[in-house]
Amino acid sequence: MTNATMCSTENGIAFNKACSDAGFWQWHVDTLGWSIVLGIFFLWLFRSVGKKATTGVPGKMQAFIELIVEFVDDNVKSTYHGKSALIAPLALTIFVWVLLMNLMDLVPVDLLPWIAGQIGAAGFGMDPHDVYMKAVPTTDLNLTFALAFGVFVLIIYYSLKMKGIGGFAKELTMQPFNHWAFIPVNFILETVTLLARPLSLALRLFGNLYASELIFILIATIGYFQLPLHFMWAVFHILVLPLQAFIFMMLTIVYLSLASEDH
């Protein structure tokens, strides 16, 4: 459950334990690598289908991709009532990307770290136990917070764009008690509301995935009886993983629609 970490020290690029005192400037190369590979896979897949998309009878692959696109589009249209070229692609990216990253959870928990350990041992002469590999990027707080922060920036942007600075300030200070004496109280309340949104987004996804990964690891430690338990837990996650991706997408849409609607 430790990330493969990379940092630059005075002696050049270092990994893992050597980075323990590098402070902020450490990079989780496994999180970055897996998430970027999955993101590029998503974009490549959808782009290649989109380029060949016919308006006539779609092939099976196109039908599947269009199913996802239409599902996202329906959700966006039913929730977000403004016109925006960004919301729907954003929601699609979040949904598919997070789903793909979540699905890494179903890869047997030891497999990828073991492969990475063998490669590390064979290729770089490292002790396999020193090679870390966390294959589920959504169990990394950095990633979930990055997503949530991106959404947060968009919330601020849409609030300012739709309501103006005055409107946004008024929303922060004149609700829920519409009286000048309550401005500080309102401001504290509204700021908490505003900040709780990205925070809850990030922590929800992280918490769910981290916990499920942790339980996979726990199950993996109990010996021969782990197989049925693994199976059950994995079946359960067929439900949980898309659900978490969907929740992340849906809440993003809801927050952005709240941000761009006048009260």
Partner: protein, 156 residues
């Protein structure tokens, strides 16, 4: 579980992915979907229109058929009437013809009879004269009493 520069990397990756998706992935897919939706909607509309047209055409055809039937019946009726008329006329004509022929036959018979009568009268007159001549051979000059004979003949 430390918070570090991975955050920045992920943020950049997220932004790039979203922008790429917005520019190159979303538009062709949604365009294809919307185009197809439009096509399907058009198709449905067209089929509905065609159905309506068909209904109309059927109605029209039924009406025309009804008209045609009525017309045919009328024509047959007229033809029958005409035929009856013709038969009547012909019958009438035949009857007239027959009457004419019969009448002419009567007239001919009458004329023949008259002629025969005349002839007979003349022969009777000649016979009477001959008889009278033989009776009165000696005392009566045929020449002198010719006017009496003539008178007799006229009276006959």
């Amino acid at each position: 579980m430390n918070f570090n520069a991975t955050f920045i990397g992920q943020l950049i990756a997220f932004a790039v992915f979203v922008v790429f998706c917005m520019k190159y992935v979303w538009p062709p897919l949604i365009a294809a979907i919307e185009e197809r939706q439009k096509k399907i909607a058009d198709g449905l509309e067209a089929s509905e229109r065609a159905e309506k047209d068909l209904e109309l055409a059927q109605e029209k055809a039924t009406e025309q058929l009804k008209d045609a039937k009525a017309q045919a019946a009328e024509i047959v009726e007229q033809a029958k009437k005409r035929a009856n008329q013709l038969v009547d006329e012909e019958t009438q004509k035949g009857r007239d013809e027959r009457e004419k022929i019969v009448a002419s036959g009567y007239a001919e018979i009458e004329a023949e009879r008259n002629r025969a009568k005349e002839e007979l009268r003349q022969q009777v007159a000649v016979l009477a004269v001959t008889g009278a001549q033989q009776i009165l051979q000696r005392e009566i000059d045929a020449q002198a009493h010719n006017d009496i004979v003539e008178k007799l003949v006229a009276e006959l």
